[in-house]
C-alpha cells in the first residue's frame, strides 16, 4: 500500500541539512555536541546530520544509537516483547549537549523513554530534540527543537518514513489506516 507522498528524497536531504545548520547555530558551534539517534530510523538520520556538520563545519560530532525498548511505558500492554535493537553510546554524556534524533514525533512517549535511558548513561548539560517529521497529537509536554517538516495528521493516519539505509529509498508518506474501525474501537 502506498500513501500520499509528503516528502521526496530531495526534501529529506534539504531538511536534514537545514537541521544540521540549526543545531550548530543553536549551540553556537560544535563544542560539547553529540548526536544520539533513536533506533531504528533515528540512527541513520543522526549519521546524516553528523555528516552534514562535518561538511560545513569540518568537525566530526560523535554519534550514538539508543534503543528505548527497556524504557517503554507500555511493555506490560504489548502482547509480545519487541525485539531489542541495540544501544551504542561509546562516549561520555556528562556535561555534553545531546541532540536526540528521531524520524517522527507523535505522542512524545518515545522521547520520554529516550530521556530516561540517556540519563542512565550520565548527566548531559542539555538534551535537545531533532525530528524529521512532527505529526502532532502529543500526549506529554514534549516539543522538538528542530523539525524537518510539520505535518498535520489525524490519529487515523500513519506517517511512514523511509530511508535509504533501512528501506532502500528516501521518502515520507502519509496513509490512512485500513483497519480504521477496528483501531477506533480499540481506543474507545
Amino acid at each position: 500500500m502506498t500513501g500520499r507522498r509528503i516528502m521526496a528524497a530531495e526534501d529529506v536531504r534539504r531538511a536534514t541539512t537545514r537541521i544540521s545548520h540549526e543545531i550548530v547555530e543553536k549551540q553556537a558551534g560544535t563544542a560539547g555536541l553529540v548526536l544520539v539517534g533513536i533506533q531504528r530510523r533515528g540512527v541513520p538520520l543522526a549519521r546524516r546530520i553528523a555528516q552534514a556538520i562535518l561538511e560545513h563545519e569540518g568537525v566530526e560530532v560523535p554519534v550514538g544509537a539508543l534503543d528505548i525498548t527497556f524504557y517503554r511505558d507500555d511493555l506490560s500492554m504489548v502482547a509480545q516483547q519487541p525485539v531489542v535493537k541495540g544501544t551504542q553510546i561509546p562516549f561520555d554524556l556528562n556535561g555534553r549537549t545531546v541532540v536526540l534524533v528521531d524520524d517522527v514525533l507523535y505522542t512524545g512517549r518515545t522521547i520520554r523513554a529516550a530521556m530516561d535511558a540517556l540519563i542512565d548513561f550520565g548527566r548531559p548539560q542539555a538534551i535537545r530534540l531533532a525530528v524529521l517529521v512532527d505529526r502532532g497529537h502529543r500526549e506529554l509536554p514534549i516539543r522538538a527543537d528542530h523539525v524537518g517538516k510539520n505535518v498535520p495528521t489525524s490519529r487515523e493516519e500513519t506517517v511512514r518514513v523511509q530511508l535509504e539505509e533501512t528501506d532502500g529509498e528516501d521518502a515520507v508518506e502519509i496513509e490512512r489506516l485500513p483497519a480504521l474501525e477496528a483501531a477506533g474501537e480499540a481506543r474507545a
Partner: protein
C-alpha cells in the same frame, strides 16, 4: 536474524493511546506489527525452542550484556512485574543469578526457600503455587527435585513459569547460558561441527539433558562420556538428538577428549556413591577426572566448562578449573544476562492487559 519489529504498537492501546509509536494508532491484525518470534508463555525445557528462538535469546542476551556493562546496570523493563523465586532444592548460583537478573530489570522479587515455608508443614505444590499467584506474582521461577514439577505448576499458575531445574529432567537457563558462553568464545561464534564433550554424571544431570538439545540443535558434534553405569539409557537416546542429529555416547575418555573443542565437566554427586553406581570417588577421579594430562589430547584451544558447583579433585582438577582455557566464571556472569533475557522475553507473554 533481523526480524525488525519497529517499536510495535500495543495491540490494544490502553488509556493514553498507542505509546511510543510515532506512526499511528495501533491497528489490530492483520496490519499489526510483524510478530516477534517469541511465542512461549512458559519456559519449561529447551526442547520446545526452535533454532530461531534460540537465536532470539542469544541476541537479547547480547543486549543484556550491554546493560550489565553500564555504570548503572539496571533498566526499568519489568517495573511493576512481580517475580517469585520458589526453590525446593538447595542452590546458590542459580537462585542468586535469577534474583540479580530480575532486579536488574527492576522487577519486584520475592524469594521462597521451600525449607522455611509452609511446604514444611505439608502444603502441596499446587496449593503453594495458587497461594503465590494470589499474592500477586506475575512470574514464577521454580526449582524442584521431581522431574516435571514445573509442568504441574504451569497448569495452575496464571502467569509465566520458568524452570530453574527439575529433577534429572531439564535446566533450560543453564543450557542457554552454556550455549551463549560457547558462542562468545568460539571463533566465528558457531558450534557447527565443533566437538563438544560432556564428561561426568550424565545420568543424573538435567544440565546434560538440556544441553544435548541446544548443542545438537546448533550443529555441534556432541559426545557424552562417563562410566557406563552413568550413561544408562543414553545409548538409545543417542539417535534422537534435535532435528535428527545424533550424538556419541562412550565410556572411552581418551576417544572422547581427542581433538575436543569443548569439554564440559559435570559434578559427581557424592550421594550417588551409595547407590553403587561408582566404586569410589577416587576411582572416578583417576579414570575420568579432567586433568591437565587428559586435556592434552584435546584441541590446544579447548574450552573448559563446568556448570558448578565443582568438586575439585574429583571431576575436575583444581588447576584445570583456573586454567586460562576455563570459562567457568564467564558462565556465571553470562548466567545473569541470559536470565535477564529470558525474564524479559517471558514477561511479554503473560498477556496482562492485552487480548492475547
Amino acid at each position: 536474524m533481523t526480524a525488525e519489529v519497529d517499536r510495535p504498537e500495543a495491540a490494544s492501546s490502553g488509556p493514553g493511546g498507542a505509546p511510543s509509536s510515532p506512526h499511528g494508532p495501533a491497528p489490530s491484525s492483520p496490519h499489526g506489527p510483524a510478530p516477534s518470534p517469541w511465542h512461549h508463555r512458559h519456559l519449561l525445557d529447551v526442547d520446545v525452542l526452535s533454532r530461531a528462538e534460540i537465536e532470539l535469546v542469544m541476541r537479547t542476551t547480547d543486549e543484556m550484556r550491554d546493560v550489565l556493562a553500564r555504570p548503572i546496570p539496571k533498566v526499568p523493563a519489568l517495573r511493576g512485574t512481580s517475580v517469585t523465586i520458589l526453590f525446593y532444592e538447595a542452590s546458590t548460583r542459580t537462585r542468586v543469578s535469577f534474583e540479580v537478573a530480575a532486579k536488574n530489570l527492576s522487577a519486584d522479587v520475592v524469594n521462597i526457600a521451600a525449607a522455611s515455608s509452609s511446604v514444611s508443614k505439608g502444603e502441596s505444590l499446587v496449593d503453594t503455587v495458587r497461594t503465590i499467584e494470589a499474592l500477586g506474582a506475575d512470574m514464577l521461577v521454580m526449582r524442584h527435585g521431581v522431574s516435571g514439577a514445573p509442568y504441574l505448576a504451569a497448569e495452575v499458575f496464571g502467569g509465566a513459569v520458568l524452570n530453574g531445574g527439575d529433577g534429572w529432567h531439564a535446566h533450560p537457563s543453564q543450557a542457554l547460558l552454556d550455549l551463549y558462553t560457547l558462542r562468545s568464545r568460539l571463533p566465528g561464534g558457531s558450534l557447527e561441527g565443533r566437538k563438544v564433550v560432556i564428561l561426568g554424571d550424565v545420568l543424573h544431570s538435567r544440565v546434560a539433558r538440556s544441553n544435548v538439545w541446544t548443542l545438537t540443535a546448533m550443529g555441534a558434534d556432541l559426545w557424552l562420556c562417563a562410566p557406563s553405569t552413568l550413561l544408562r539409557g543414553f545409548e538409545a537416546w543417542g539417535s534422537r538428538g534435535a532435528a535428527g542429529r545424533r550424538f556419541t555416547v562412550t565410556s572411552d575418555v581418551g576417544a572422547a577428549l581427542r581433538d575436543a573443542d569443548v569439554v564440559m565437566a559435570l559434578r559427581i554427586q557424592r550421594e550417588r556413591m551409595a547407590s553403587g553406581l561408582l566404586p569410589s570417588l577416587r576411582e572416578y577421579a583417576a579414570r575420568y577426572g579432567l586433568t591437565q594430562e587428559r586435556l592434552r589430547a584435546a584441541s590446544p584451544d579447548v574450552i573448559v566448562m563446568h556448570p558448578g558447583p565443582m568438586n575439585e579433585g574429583v571431576e575436575i582438577a583444581a588447576d584445570v578449573a583456573v586454567d586460562p582455557r576455563s570459562v567457568i566464571t564467564d558462565q556465571v556472569t553470562n548466567g545473569v544476562a541470559v536470565r535477564m533475557a529470558l525474564l524479559y522475553l517471558l514477561a511479554g507473554a503473560h498477556g496482562r492487559g492485552s487480548e492475547a
